[in-house]
C-alpha cells in the first residue's frame, strides 16, 4: 500500500471517525496519526483515551471530534479501563444480553501515559491477555503541560525540565524502548509506525485489530511545538526519523521481527537532529555518540529479523 501512495489514498474508505475542527497545533502529526488510526478501525470500535494532548484537543466541552464511543480516563488507568470494558463486553455477549459484533477496543495515550504513568496498568492488561489494541502516540515529552521530559524523551533533547546548559546537554538518559517492553510481554502483535508513512500505519492498525489478544503499536508523532520545528516540516522530520534509523518501522508477529519500511542505507543522524530546535545545542561529539548508539540499535534490530526459529 505504501508503494502506491498516489492512488491508495483514493482507494481507501472516505468516512472519517475523528472529525475535523479539533484544537491541535498547526502541523500536529499526532492528530494526523489519531485520524488515520480511527479511519483504519472504522465505526465498530470503543476508544479509551488517556489524559493528554489528544484528549484536550478533541473534547473541549461541549464539543467532541469523536464519531465513535469514546471514554476519557485518567493518566494511569487507560489499559485497566479498557480491559474492564472488554471483559464486560465479552460477558454480556456470552450471556446473550448484547450481540457480539466483533467490536474492537482501542486504548490510546501519549508517551507519558504509556511509558511512565500508565505502564503498570498496560503491563497488567498485556499479561492478562485481553483482546485490545493499544496505540501509543509518542511525541517524546509531556507536550500538553509544557514540554516536560518523559522517559521517552531522546538523549540530548532539551525540554523545560531537562534544559540544555553549560554542564548538561539536555536529556541525559536514552529513550525507553517501549516496543521492546511490549515484545517482552509475549504480546502477539507489536509494531512501530509513524504518521509520515500513513498507509503503513493503517495496515498495522488493521492487522493489530484482527489479532486475537493484545496488540501494541508505538507511533512516533512529530510535535512541531515541542520539537521546535516549523509546522510545515513535521511530516518531513518523521520521514527523516525513519530514514536515519532513529525510529525504524518494524512489526513483531508472535516474536518474529520484520522491518516494514526498508531503508537500504541509513542517513546520518545529523540530518534529523539539525533542523530541530530541541537539539540545537548538540556538539559534534554528542552527535557522534548518538550516531554510534543508533547504529548499534539498528544492527541489533536487523540481527533480530534474521534470527532463525
Amino acid at each position: 500500500m505504501e508503494a502506491v501512495n498516489v492512488y491508495s489514498a483514493r482507494i481507501l474508505e472516505k468516512q472519517e471517525y475523528f472529525k475535523p475542527g479539533h484544537r491541535a497545533c498547526q502541523g500536529c502529526a499526532e492528530a494526523l496519526a489519531v485520524r488515520l488510526v480511527a479511519k483504519a478501525l472504522g465505526k465498530n470500535v470503543i476508544v479509551a483515551s488517556a489524559t493528554g494532548c489528544m484528549e484536550i484537543i478533541s473534547s473541549p466541552l461541549p464539543f467532541t471530534n469523536w464519531d465513535v464511543p469514546w471514554i476519557h480516563v485518567a493518566f494511569e488507568n487507560t489499559a485497566a479501563v479498557l480491559s474492564g470494558a472488554e471483559s464486560a463486553y465479552k460477558a454480556l455477549a456470552r450471556k446473550g444480553r448484547i450481540k457480539d459484533r466483533g467490536t474492537v477496543f482501542l486504548g490510546m495515550g501519549g508517551d507519558g501515559a504509556t511509558t511512565d504513568i500508565g505502564l503498570q496498568a498496560l503491563s497488567g492488561a498485556f499479561e492478562r491477555g485481553h483482546s485490545f489494541v493499544y496505540v501509543c502516540y509518542d511525541n517524546e515529552a509531556y507536550m500538553n503541560t509544557g514540554i516536560q521530559r518523559s522517559s521517552s524523551t531522546p538523549f540530548g533533547a532539551s525540554t523545560t525540565t531537562s534544559p540544555a546548559g553549560k554542564k548538561v546537554p539536555g536529556q541525559i538518559t536514552w529513550k525507553k524502548n517501549m516496543a521492546e517492553i511490549a515484545v517482552a510481554h509475549n504480546v502477539p502483535y507489536v509494531a512501530t509506525a509513524c504518521s509520515s508513512y500513513p498507509f503503513d500505519l493503517m495496515e498495522k492498525v488493521q492487522k493489530a485489530a484482527r489479532t486475537p489478544g493484545p496488540a501494541y503499536i508505538h507511533v512516533l508523532s512529530v510535535c512541531p511545538t515541542g520539537w521546535r520545528i516549523p509546522p510545515s516540516k513535521s511530516i518531513w522530520i518523521g520521514r527523516l526519523a525513519v530514514e536515519t534509523g532513529i525510529f525504524p518501522l518494524f512489526e513483531v508477529v508472535d516474536g518474529r521481527y520484520r522491518i516494514t519500511v526498508d531503508v537500504p542505507e541509513l542517513r546520518p543522524v545529523e540530518e534529523y537532529l539539525k533542523p530541530q530546535g530541541r537539539f540545537r545545542h548538540l556538539t559534534p561529539e554528542i552527535t557522534a555518540v548518538i550516531q554510534e548508539r543508533v547504529n548499534y540499535e539498528y544492527r541489533k534490530l536487523v540481527a533480530k529479523t534474521q534470527f532463525k526459529f
Binding site: 500500500m1 492512488y7 482507494i11 465505526k43 518531513w236
Partner: protein
C-alpha cells in the same frame, strides 16, 4: 437539496439520502454487512454477492445485493435472516473453493460458521471481484488489465497475456485486491508487476526513488506539465 428517505433495516428506522445504496445506509447505523467488491470510489458493481440481504415488498420477500440496490421509502430490509445467511454461506464456500487460504476469506467464513468448503478445491487465488479491473479503469484511468474468457475460464489478464502496453506500474490493482493475488515486487530500483519490469525514477535532488518512470510520464501527460516537473523534486525534498 437531496431527498431523504426513511427505511427499516433489521427493525431499525434509518434515514438515508435518496440514491445511496442499502449497504451505505446499513453502515451508517453500524449494521455490518460483509462485502468484498464494493469501494466508494468505484461505481457499484455487485460481483461478490456476499452483501445479499432480504427485502420485503408487501407479502413477498426477495434477495438483492445491498451494494447495488438503492434505498427506497418504506423499504423493509433484513440483513441476517436464515435465508440470507444460507446464501452467504454458499457464496463464501464457492470462493473458498478458488482460494482456500486467504485470511480475509477464512475470517468471513468463520463468522458464518464455516471451516472449509464442501466443493472441490481448485486453487486459482483470484475470486473475480473485479476491483483491480475497475480501479485501473475508474481511478487510474488507463484500463491496462481486463477480464478474459467466459464462465469457468474467466480470469483477470493483460491483453494477449503479454506485457501490458498501457500499464503505468502504479500498483493500485495490487493494493486494492482483497485477497492479495497480484504480486508487486520492488528491488534495486525496479518494480515488477504483471511479470514485467519497470524502472523507477530517482529524484534529481535527493536521489530517493519516487515512482515508476512510466507513471510519471503518465502524470506529465494528463496534467500537461513537463516531465521534469515530477522528477526534479520528490515529495520528500520539495
Amino acid at each position: 437539496m437531496s431527498q431523504t428517505v426513511t427505511l427499516t433495516i433489521d427493525g431499525r428506522q434509518v434515514q438515508a439520502e435518496a440514491g445511496t445504496t442499502l449497504l451505505e445506509a446499513a453502515r451508517s447505523v453500524n449494521i455490518q454487512i460483509p462485502h468484498l467488491c464494493s469501494n466508494e470510489e468505484l461505481a457499484p458493481y455487485g460481483a461478490c454477492r456476499m452483501c445479499m440481504v432480504e427485502i420485503r415488498h408487501g407479502q413477498r420477500t426477495r434477495m438483492v445485493a445491498s451494494c447495488i440496490y438503492e434505498v427506497e421509502e418504506g423499504l423493509e430490509v433484513q440483513t441476517a435472516t436464515e435465508r440470507v445467511l444460507n446464501v452467504r454461506r454458499l457464496v463464501i464456500e464457492l470462493m473458498l473453493a478458488r482460494n482456500p487460504t486467504h485470511p480475509t476469506l477464512l475470517q468471513m467464513a468463520a463468522d458464518l460458521g464455516i471451516e472449509k468448503t464442501r466443493f472441490e478445491v481448485e486453487v486459482k487465488g483470484c475470486i473475480l471481484c473485479g476491483l483491480c479491473v475497475r480501479t485501473c479503469r475508474e481511478v487510474v484511468g488507463v484500463s491496462a488489465i481486463g477480464f478474459e474468457g467466459r464462465g469457468t475460464t474467466r480470469r483477470i489478464a493483460t491483453p494477449f497475456n503479454e506485457a501490458p502496453p498501457d500499464c503505468i506500474a502504479c500498483g493500485a490493482c495490487s493494493a486494492v485486491c482483497p485477497v492479495d493475488v497480484i504480486p508487486l515486487k520492488e528491488k534495486d530500483g525496479i518494480r515488477t508487476i504483471w511479470k514485467t519490469d519497470y524502472p523507477m525514477q530517482r529524484c534529481e535532488s535527493c536521489g530517493r526513488l519516487i515512482a515508476p518512470v512510466k507513471q510519471l510520464e503518465y502524470f506529465a501527460k494528463i496534467t500537461n506539465q513537463p516531465l521534469s516537473h515530477f522528477t526534479e523534486h520528490c515529495v520528500h525534498c520539495r
